[in-house]
Symmetry: C2
Subunit: 130 residues, 2 copies
Amino acid sequence: MSNTDSFLKKWHQAVQTGDMELLHSIIAEDASLLSPAFWKPRVGRDKVAMVLKAVSDTFQELTYTKEWVDGNELILEFNTRVGDKTIKGIDRITLNDNGLLTEIEVLIRPMNGLTALAAALDDKLKALMA
Amino acid sequence: MSNTDSFLKKWHQAVQTGDMELLHSIIAEDASLLSPAFWKPRVGRDKVAMVLKAVSDTFQELTYTKEWVDGNELILEFNTRVGDKTIKGIDRITLNDNGLLTEIEVLIRPMNGLTALAAALDDKLKALMA
């Protein structure tokens, strides 16, 4: 199985089950997360995993609909919901040569979905870091 | 040249030059545009072309950085700026069997860039429709 196929299999399993150990195992130590809300990246495996877990706990009925692969650079398209707001999103993921996630950038639309996600995440991340 | 290559060549030329005739020539009559700000699509060649023109007039230093192609479904990644806000964006484009754009969905981050774009576009589109 290629690095990419192996990564994608584990990614979907980790997102579906919330298995933090599995999630940690596919993220590079120096990974960055670029959120839909803020410009400044979050850096480091623990922070990236924590935010991804908070996001996947916030998304309701998360469904991945399509993927594009170009070498180590992946696009995953998804539909989801936060409260009563329907959301369309894209994960733009770069893998390193070992097949680990080294960057993930998340883009979502529309604006009211982004606002709802940012508000829900803010509460969750404050609680996690308290 | 494949439908996709031919579309992409004309797309980049139309966006760079603001050539509305060329832009119209690559959009299907029943095309939809899904904006980063609002859920509800804009439907029809004229509306889609008008919004795309307003967006490309608003974006400063627009640079396409990468593309992913899967049959008729394309992902174009870009960097741009609106005023002092740096923006990262993705165009998710579907072509019909004739190689014409039948759907374009635009996702951008971060939130302050989206807010700046929505405000600038609101003014431009009101002026266009006045």
